[in-house]
């Protein structure tokens, strides 16, 4: 036993060199793994984009021609082009959540659970990739809308609002997807929840028309949806500097205050769903 102990000492690890704190390194490692696996499955990148791209390329311009647009200062092609973000981000996040179920069924999750990193890092690593993927898809979508004649009014401040809204909404949606993946054990049951989670809000949150165009009861429901606030901020950033969407929600005279209020709502939802998803994952992953 003394010999084994002596040899164990001789094999001890060398002192650590200065490098990134372990926290960042662990999360980056998990994100890199998820990114590599996603790259191995290009459908995960392309498929969520198909429907929203059709909206931007075909539906919005056609509706504009057929109906004459919104009868306001807002260009309908860019209005729907940005509205389609409300579909691509949820679909992309739902796909990402499916990977969590695949990891669980394949056993890969168990290997990660045995790693000396906090369990929350597994969620955060996946979230980073979901953000990157959504950023790519949103960029493509806006580009397609611009190609089809969408009119955008982009300033530095507007871009900041747009990026902040897209980021917070992605964080929120990934939290929803991760929570759902932790609660639902089977892939088919998870897929069955997609319409309620990713598609229904799209039709209520002002993606295709202003929420004020709906009956009062539905407008009230829309105001409670994070997507409504996200779309209003996205359009305020890139399409409508007057903030008509924000005004439909808050009814105030100061659009900047309205923007910050919607930002706060989105931030609250994003933080809450991230916390819920980490808790749900931790509780479901360890039996």
């Amino acid at each position: 036993m003394a010999t084994i102990t002596a040899q164990r000492t001789a094999l001890a690890r060398p002192a650590r060199a200065a490098r990134l704190p372990f926290t960042g390194r662990a999360v980056r490692t998990l994100a890199a793994r998820r990114a590599a696996l996603t790259a191995h499955n290009p459908r995960q990148v392309a498929v969520p984009l198909i429907g929203p791209a059709l909206l931007a390329l075909v539906v919005a311009p056609a509706l504009k021609v057929a109906t004459g647009g919104l009868h306001s200062h807002i260009d309908y092609t860019s209005f729907v082009g940005v509205g389609a973000v409300g579909l691509v981000v949820p679909l992309s996040c739902v796909f990402a959540g499916l990977s969590v179920i695949v990891d669980r069924h394949s056993g890969a999750q168990r290997e990660l659970l045995a790693a000396p990193v906090p369990r929350s890092y597994l969620v955060l690593g996946n979230l980073l990739v979901a953000i990157g993927l959504s950023a790519l898809q949103v960029t493509v979508l806006v580009g397609l809308s611009a190609i089809r004649g969408g009119q955008f009014h982009i300033t530095a401040t507007g871009a900041a609002w747009f990026v902040a809204a897209a980021l917070l909404f992605t964080v929120f949606m990934y939290g929803v997807a991760e929570t759902l993946a932790s609660k639902v054990k089977k892939q088919e049951d998870y897929i069955g929840a997609v319409p309620a989670v990713a598609i229904l809000p799209f039709f209520l949150a002002g993606a295709l028309f202003p929420i004020a165009a709906m009956p009062a009861a539905l407008t009230a429901i829309a105001k409670a949806l994070p997507l409504t606030h996200a779309l209003a901020l996205l359009r305020y950033g890139f399409v409508d500097p007057r903030g008509s969407g924000l005004h439909d929600i808050w009814g105030m005279s100061n659009v900047t205050v309205e923007a910050w209020l919607s930002f706060a709502v989105l931030a609250l939802f994003a933080v809450a769903l991230t916390a819920i998803s980490v808790r749900a994952f931790t509780r479901s992953a360890v039996r």
Binding site: R8, A36, L37, G107, R110, L113, A114, P116
Partner: protein, 320 residues
Amino acid sequence: MAAERQDAPAVEAVALEKTYPGGLEAVRGIGFRVAAGEVFGLLGPNGAGKSTTIGMLTTTISPTAGTARLAGFDVVEQPLQARGVSSVVFQEPVVDRGLTGRANLELHARLWDVELTVAETRMSELGRALGIAEILDRPVESFSGGERRRLELARALISRPRVLFLDEPTVGLDPRIRVELLDVIAALRERERVTIVLTTHYLDEARRLCDRVAIIHAGEIVALDTPEALLAGLGGELLELRVDGDVSVALAALAAHGIAAGESLAIGQTLTVPLRQASAADAIAAIQGAGLSTSGISSRQPSLDDVYLRLTGEGLAEAA
């Protein structure tokens, strides 16, 4: 982070229990200690509680009661530290098939905070030692079952763990690959100086690799000793025969002649008789003297299956 205790046992489990939702008691008060450098086996059939025990020790399953420590770190109170000193190869293959072998190893190295240059050296060493150096840069989906298992072993060892858990490492592999992998695992102990906790339902694995074996039945340890000591309890030779008639009469006849008194075991019409001082002929004569006929007579050395049978009334193969 508290420093690991060099004087602590590598693994210490005290009254571990696990009851799953629905009331299934998978582990019922298991306790054992494993010294540093030891190869310790958990032997039992499927459903005995081996994998659940490993799960609790590796923090992937939360205990209902009891405590466990790895190199002095409590698995519930200090889970990160406990995971940091251990590695596990699970029963199901868990490599990322979409990545290369090298990428799988690098992932593990980063998560266990192994410095990159050290990790690269370890990958080369382990690749050569485990015979997978030539295929590390191929996608894992192209690996055979045996190659994936070797990759998993390499991955588990890259961080130089204090404790290596192997959960049924050869299950599902064909016999030739099994033998090769057993050779690899046997060499690990000398090469890596690592404590190994191994679960298996294969008797040859337990006998060949383990310094001590804990026999698990229905969530409890029913025996714990070296394989030799467990087998010594049955003597050097077993007589096995079928009895045509009432086996209790045969058992009584053996006892009356002072042969394996209280040690003979009847499963159906088959008697297993540990021969110590008596001979096979004496035992057969005693049974036939009671008016019973015998058939299918054979003698053999006792195995761990016989030990298990004696302790639980079931064979390992039957229980599985």
